[in-house]
Subunit: 580 residues, 2 copies
């Protein structure tokens, strides 16, 4: 047996016990008469001490050791003279009686500390060393714990975990598939799933009633800052349910996670329609940790001499509390911010409602004080507040205002990572019009059911039909989304028609699913959570990357194993493919 205890478990009550520990040398402090060693494993750090009287053998072994050496020691647990209340083992130390080097270590390319000296690239190359850092490992421990809580919660609710296949079929709809050439069926390819959508619906047809899976999904998209080609979903589906049933179960799941992980009792989650989210927050994933909703001033500001507003489709304002004192420099910064190409506003209008009741704006020459007072009143501004206005085409201005609002939230410290404000966004549009191809696309996917009240409009006014879909949003991040599905084949046919599929195209692409639906498909619906994202939210991370043990970089490369890589001529030959 290599060890009697881990490095995290010895306490005062173990004093006088003879113990054997294993771990990594975190630090050696040679104080002349005494040498202290911090021994680290996943469970904690235990202090070892070699006294002046220690054997020559031990002294030599210590002298030969260095950072990250793997050692095994035996010794007696003693009470520390100067205790360390910062670590659970801080009351004791181990008086060394034996010291074995199990494996030496080269000097690591960066320090194994919470605040390491290693840059991003080198840490990714030596990810196995980066993972030794407690700051990184605790994210993966959190991930493990969350997966465990989710599974036990869903198991208790009679969800069955079913593994769906990874080698499936490529479909042109949606994002780009990764494909896998088949050797046994040359010229043909499998695809890796972007989600188990089809299979989970088939499981409902199969009568599985409640399905879940924590499952890898794949998308061959150009990687933005926080995307990975392979990612993990908590994927769920339920039969004989309406929207309320699904929201109830998964609101419960999120509440369970917050309670267990964060000790937070969440209130009943608010619901917001997609329309309101767009209108008041400019996006479908509003961060409601703070107010500052948009106020539509279009009609109020028009009809005066300010052409910019007069010709704008939309003029919207946010009221930044206590920001009337902003300096010219600060206001210029905000103007620069909204004019950045990523945001693209033409300019920014402000109205300062000073503490003394006076008003100062960037459009003073076009509007009277009474005009401005009216705006302030509409925005419910208080003395000391600052109105910020943007204008332009509505579909462009709303997202710009959204960015400005988030920026102000950051500046005002209103986006605390330890405050969580989840909500449901509901009633998304069913369809999205694409100018380029001049057709509608399914906003979620082609199996999303229309809102029961809007089915009659599918042919007459498809753009206005709401979907029976829902997203869970936390702090401005979409962590999950789903919908009630279409289970009726005639409704499904109408949906395909809306999407401009001919019956033949629909048959070719979704034929097997539609065929399955002929044999008694139950009403059903589901949801999928982005697990990487959810973990990063609970961990307080900005990126999902550190919730993943071995992530890929923005070019889809694993720099540690150096993948992707070339394959052999034999492999090409066997697969019947070659490079262009």
């Amino acid at each position: 047996m290599y060890r009697t205890h881990t490095c995290g478990e010895l306490r005062l009550e173990n004093v006088n016990e003879s113990v054997t520990l294993c771990g990594w040398v975190q630090k050696i402090r040679n104080l002349g008469a005494m040498t202290f060693i911090d021994l680290r494993d996943r469970y904690g750090i235990t202090q070892l001490v070699a006294e002046e009287s220690a054997s020559e053998e031990i002294k030599q072994q210590i002298a030969r050791s260095g950072r990250e050496f793997v050692i095994q020691i035996r010794g007696k647990v003693v009470e520390r003279a100067s205790k360390n209340s910062k670590i659970p083992t801080g009351d004791i130390e181990i008086l060394l009686e034996e010291f074995h080097i199990l494996n030496p270590s080269d000097i690591p390319p960066f320090t194994i500390e919470d605040h390491t000296d290693g840059g991003d690239e080198i840490r990714m190359k030596y990810r196995y060393l980066d993972l030794r850092r407690q700051a990184v490992r605790k994210n993966l421990e959190l991930r493990h714990r969350m997966a465990h809580l989710v599974r036990n919660y869903l198991d208790e609710k009679q969800f069955m975990e079913v593994e769906t296949p990874v080698l499936i079929k490529s479909t042109p709809e949606g994002a780009r598939d990764f494909v896998v050439p088949s050797r046994m069926n040359q010229g043909q390819f499998y695809a890796l799933p972007q989600s188990p959508q089809t299979f989970k619906q088939l499981l409902m047809v199969a009568g599985f009633d409640r399905y879940y899976q924590i499952v890898k999904c794949f998308r061959d998209e150009d990687l933005r800052a926080d995307r990975q080609p392979e990612f993990t979903q908590i994927d769920c589906e339920m039969s004989f349910v309406e929207r309320e049933d699904v929201l109830g179960i998964f609101e419960g799941m999120i509440r369970h996670l917050f309670k267990e992980i964060r000790g937070i009792d969440l209130p009943v989650l608010p619901r917001m329609t997609w329309h309101d989210a767009m209108e008041y927050y400019g996006c479908d994933k509003p961060d409601i940790r703070f107010d500052m909703q948009f106020v539509d001033l279009t009609h109020q500001v028009q009809g005066k001499d300010f052409t910019v507003f007069n010709t704008a489709e939309y003029v919207g304002a946010i009221c930044a509390p206590g920001c009337a004192s902003y300096t010219r420099k600060q206001l210029d910064e905000l103007t620069e911010f909204v004019k950045r190409p990523q945001i693209g506003a033409k300019g920014l209008v402000y109205v300062k409602y000073n503490e003394d009741g006076s008003i100062k704006s960037s459009v003073d020459k076009f509007y009277t004080e009474a005009d401005l007072k009216e705006w302030l009143a509409t925005c419910k501004a208080q003395p000391g507040d600052l109105l910020l206005l943007l204008c332009g085409p509505k579909n462009k201005t709303l997202p710009q205002l959204c960015e400005l609002r988030l920026e102000m939230g950051d500046r005002l410290g209103l986006r605390n990572k330890d405050v969580f404000k989840p909500l449901w966004v509901v009633d998304f549009p069913l369809l999205e019009w694409d100018e380029e191809t001049q057709r509608f696309y399914a906003m979620h996917h082609p199996f999303t059911s229309p809102h029961p009240q809007d089915i009659d409009m599918m042919e007459s006014n498809p753009g206005a039909v709401r979907a029976n879909a829902y997203d869970m949003v936390i702090n401005g991040v979409e962590v999950g989304g789903g919908s009630i599905r279409i289970h009726d084949s005639s409704l499904q046919q109408r949906m395909f028609k809306c999407l401009g599929f001919t019956p033949e195209q629909a048959e070719k692409q979704f034929g097997f699913l539609m065929n399955a639906f002929k044999y008694g498909a139950p009403p059903h619906g589901g949801i999928a959570f982005g697990f990487d994202r959810l973990v990063s939210m609970f961990a307080g991370l900005d990126s999902i990357r550190d919730t993943i043990a071995f992530p890929k970089n923005n070019s889809g490369r694993d720099v540690m194993i150096d993948s992707p890589s070339e394959i052999s001529t034999d492999q090409f030959k066997e697969l019947g493919i070659k490079l262009m």
Copy 2:
């Protein structure tokens, strides 16, 4: 809300309650005055009854319904006149008050019954209907339950679940990889993992101490009867362990599963060396539900006039209890059996030890009764037993004798599927010699540690070195296997040398792992269980296929979704590949 209860939960205590149920119509029995309907969902079957007095509306809806229609009904729970003790809901039935068809069904292509009229092919094509059959669904329920038990067991033992990547790097060693062309790194390919071996060892280097994952793995091999291109492993690794530690934890896991699933208290598992398994059972996965070990009679039978035996390297016998009464026809069948090309024996020699003490053999003219008596004594045969002898080169005869032994076990009813005899097979050879390429291959993989006592022989007698490896075998099936790994880079170098790798080749192929080992790799070891196989064992199935929701056929095809399939010209272009 679609339903108040499932079809499996109503009991006598619910009598007089008004309930709403949903499910599939299993059967309609129209008895003139009354109509009975069996309503089915995942949870059970509930009997519905429409009396003579039922509304016209209900009668019409029933008349329009058929097998597999999805319906929603409301009614009152009443006590049955004639109870059905075979189902948990058999004491009650539902007196219909409302009846809604939620979705009609075409007539299914086969009956949704435990014993269906559907052949294999059609059931795979309509797998979503096949999965409705209780006989199939219960295997997947078992799978879910086993995964859940395994996870909770390992979680309690402080194993951390870590997801390792699916898009990894192709390695020439081992079985054939599935590869995935990279669009962002044209000309390069990912590979799908055959196992997370490298990553789990890196997690040990990273100090994760105890890792597990229930994970999909992939092998592009020609599919034998019971192989799938994607399969699932319970994959585990532990640090600071010796063999006993690993065996202890996973013997505990198997014991936990048998207790929870089958109600069986397993004894401490026996251990058998690979050498003994080969010598006495002719294979490395002995079925020890019954005895009939091989007896080596080589020296005893040689030196007489029977040239066949005299020139054989090995003559081995099994003693089939109570089979002396076998007829000429039965003995001919056995001879035919061993001469089948898959087995390939030249012939079969028998010795009958009749109940009356007389002896009759197929080699009477070469041996005296005293000779034969001696054989019988060596084999500890009793009157009534039958000796069966095979001879030839030892490495061919042992597997032949193994097949014969299993056949006799089947004939004698000694291989009961409800009897479980797990054991550990240990001390495998480290290396296997390949005649064709004239080199050694790693029997498990190149990171398997040699047995501590045999390290000195690695250069002088590599073929004799035992591995520190172990398999768990249940009823003749290898359900899991693993080893203590090499954590010392100089030992790893010696291993690569045994395998005939130049340092450059080793560096090219395993460089990053060997590099990782320079930074303080802990002693570690692990194991992986074939989860599909393990479930099929507990389910009493002969094939793993029905433990998988959506399996592929022997050509690697999913006939339900018709995959693999062709991909578009655009996809080829984007990936920079074309067909040969």
